[in-house]
């Protein structure tokens, strides 16, 4: 379903009002907010067929006469994604979501495969944040996941988790350079470590050794530790392209914006106006918003300014495997995580999430699962057949009733575009406003004190980048929707911890001065 407009003129240089490089959530959000203020943004998207970046829809596969649309992977819309939801609702584009009802933790070690439902215990806990995880221990199945070592070290684990309450790396500008999640959890016991690493791997799509500690603490704060209901999310009712991106792109066009596909910008040029070069074509504009993923942004900046000292968060690749069965597994949660001895890391039963798959399930009794594999690289480097075989073997251990019912398999290799959230130092990590006048950045990799991640961060930084342009034009800026505050008890703990840290720092400074 190609969506781009064809170039209106073939001349070598085209002038436009505002140029947005990248047609993902950040670029589309920026374009929408500019177009609503009467500007005419032009989006250049590198993909030849689909707008939307990581939320784009893709090709279709046919299974026994039924057609299913592919995408980068299933996305969650969390309760704290308030700018994303408000933006869609304002234009009547917010779909009716599929609520996530429960998340299953599947853990395998040498003693066998065990399962425990965890999501609802966290969000409906009777204990206030940050004590809400205690609810897990009221579930007998959770106890079966643990051994004596886990139980004996529980307080230690808890005290480390509380650390995330007292420090807000994004707002306080604490890059914690060099520290990773692995440093944080290395003294933890096996099952508890597996649980939190599984949680983090779902969020960060990579291994504990690679997850930056600053990103992890900010992640805990945004998604779980400050509020019980922060761990509330839904799925889009269909693939991201169909549910959100394509209607959003249509709205941008309706408001006067333009979208060109297959325009991969290789470099920018500063001057009286900015120029962006794609092959032999050039586009010029007074302001440019760079809304591509971190890896593409890094490449464009290097090509344009020879700037090698800047910091860009890493972009990660992954593999997505989809399997179709001619039967349905036993009833259970629609999604969850695999930890321990599995090659895959999370799963989504598509027939319990997407309308088209639900219809297929209703009419044929079939089911389909999507599993994500986030690494490590030596696993991802396996041939498709080998990776598929490992996934299928693991899946049969978790769902033995599916043996012999596989009817179709599909593996998709996603390029390294998924951001590994991290915070670089202020002078090296680009924010929305950059070292270059009238060049702004947007995306989930951009340095900004807002606490959000991924889809919401892309949307919020897109709006902020639009605001930066509007400011230069003397037009009204948009107000961002705020996030829910911490629950009262955890808010009180946070204040105490922040005050304690300040006192310690002041004391240390005073000691230093007295030594001098």
């Amino acid at each position: 379903m190609p969506l781009g407009d064809s170039p209106r003129q073939k001349s070598n240089e085209r002038q436009c009002d505002v140029l947005i490089i990248g047609g993902g959530m950040a670029g589309l959000s920026a374009a929408l907010h500019l177009a609503e203020r009467g500007l005419k943004p032009l989006i250049l998207e590198a993909d030849p067929r689909f707008i939307g970046g990581r939320l784009a829809g893709g090709e279709e596969v046919e299974i026994k006469g039924w057609r299913f649309r592919l995408e980068h992977g299933v996305h969650g819309v969390w309760s704290q994604y308030r700018n994303f939801q408000s933006m869609l609702a304002r234009h009547h584009l917010r779909p009716v979501f599929t609520p996530s009802q429960e998340e299953l933790w599947i853990y395998r070690d040498r003693y066998g495969t065990r399962k425990a439902s965890v999501g609802s215990a966290i969000r409906y806990s009777i204990f206030p944040a940050p004590l809400h995880y205690i609810q897990l221990f009221l579930r007998s199945r959770f106890w079966w996941m643990l051994d004596l070592r886990d139980i004996s070290r529980m307080f230690h684990v808890w005290s480390l988790l509380i650390m995330s309450v007292g420090i807000d790396p994004f707002r306080e500008d604490q890059p914690m350079e060099g520290l990773t999640l692995n440093d944080f959890v290395k003294s933890w016991t096996p099952a508890i470590r597996a649980f939190f690493i599984g949680l983090a791997r779902n969020g960060f799509s990579t291994h504990a050794e690679e997850i930056p500690l600053s990103g992890f603490l900010a992640f805990l704060r945004f998604y779980t530790i400050l509020r019980r209901d922060a761990w509330t999310f839904s799925y889009l009712p269909e693939d991201g392209g169909t549910s959100v991106i394509e209607p959003l792109a249509d709205k941008v066009r309706e408001l006067g914006g333009e979208i060109l596909l297959e325009k991969r910008v290789s470099r920018l040029e500063d001057g009286p106006t900015w120029k962006a070069y794609c092959d032999e074509e050039a586009f010029s504009a007074k302001q440019i918003i760079l809304a591509v993923d971190a890896s593409a942004a890094s490449s464009i900046i290097k090509n344009s300014f020879g700037e090698n000292a800047l910091y860009f968060p890493r972009s990660l690749s992954n593999a997505v495997v989809r399997l179709w069965f001619d039967c349905t597994p036993k009833p259970g949660p629609e999604s969850g995580t695999f930890t321990g001895d599995f090659v895959m890391h999370n799963f989504f039963w598509l027939d319990r999430i997407y309308a088209s798959y639900r219809k297929w399930n209703k009419e044929t009794g079939g089911s389909a699962i999507e599993v994500h594999i986030y690494g490590p690289q030596e696993i991802l480097q396996n041939a498709d057949a080998a990776l598929l075989a490992q996934v299928i073997t693991g899946l049969y251990q978790a769902y033995p009733e599916l043996r012999g019912h596989l009817i179709h398999q599909h593996i998709q290799r996603n390029a390294a575009t998924h951001t590994l959230p991290n915070l670089g130092s202020k002078d090296r990590h680009l924010g929305i406003e950059t070292h270059w006048t009238n060049l702004f950045c947007a995306g989930d990799w951009v340095r900004d004190p807002i606490p959000s991640f991924f889809l919401e961060r892309a949307c919020a930084t897109g709006i902020k980048a639009a605001n930066a342009v509007l400011k230069t034009r003397g037009l009204d800026e948009w107000t961002l929707v705020g996030y829910l505050p911490p629950e009262p008890f955890v808010g009180w703990i946070e204040k105490l911890m922040v005050a304690g840290r300040k006192r310690r720092i002041a004391k240390r400074n005073a000691q230093k001065q007295s030594h001098q």
């Binding site: 009547h92 009716v96 839904s234 219809k359 209703k362 929707v481």
Partner: protein
Amino acid sequence: MLKYASNLIKLARNDRHLNPQVAIYYVTTQCNLNCAYCEDFGARRNDHAEPPRRLDQAMQILRVIRSGADSLFITGGEPLLHPDIDELLRRAEHELKFREITLITNGFLLSKHEAALSAVDRLIVSLDSLNAENWSQTIGIPLASTESIYNNICNYAMRQKEFGYQMMVNAVLSPETLSGAEALLEFCVENHLLISFSPQAVNNWVRYELIISSEYKVLIEKLIAYKKRGAPIAGSMAYLQTLIDFRPYDCYPTLAPRIMPNGDLTYPCRPFEKANNGQGGRPVNLLDVKTWDEAWSKARAAYGQPPRTCHSCFQQCYIEPSLMQSQPLTFLNEYLRYPSSRKGNLKTYAAG
């Protein structure tokens, strides 16, 4: 109370298919107003309106509802446009003996339907602003008609004792009406009316301009303070607190099921039914079944239990009963601490 207790037991057993506390019957989707914020029915959609059922069919629908719920909300569109509304309400009270009947109307046709009024226990009328010009623009009718609605409200507020109903104003808070909300509250105090507030929804979500408005937040905080001091503001404290920051709530839509004019039961909720994406729909027509339990079982068989953790909409009609049912301790605390909340129950919210 028994139903409330049995629903608590269901919740403890992780059963989300809760039994209804009230049933909401849309007797017609026709409307004579054209409210700017209306996202469901309304005059601009009358061409697509479902025709109302004849009296005998509507009575049969109510009979089935009665076998499962003892509180009934009659709404629309504009319910007073149903050709047999007076008789339908009279028979609902006398023949079917609903314990509580609530009529939700825009008030324009009240004077032509006095016969219906003695059958209702609660009369909920929409009034968003005392500024006639502002309100006229909001509801899309001429100024003169707006004034006539306003006069009707004053008139029927004075006659509450005569007809034996309790009257309540339902005000939709929008950026356009925000500044007049306190005056509206004063008007209700003067006229012995209850008032309920709900923020304007756009696409099942609170309107952006309200979410970012500090004036809106200040207003809700004031309303909470007024309510603590005994102001006649309907709805629970927990509901009003939810309106400050629009935090997620656990929704139990089957507590207030909706029945469309033709008798179709929407399940599990109206947004899912409208989305038509396989999560909900109209699994059964009440004219095809004999009892509510039969309809309820068919609905459950078709779509299963209502989902957990849904934040697909932010609608007053689902928030209040869901909070009441799922947070008994919160409500007990409210009941004990604030005497004005002791009237608080499912009567005191205005289902849209």
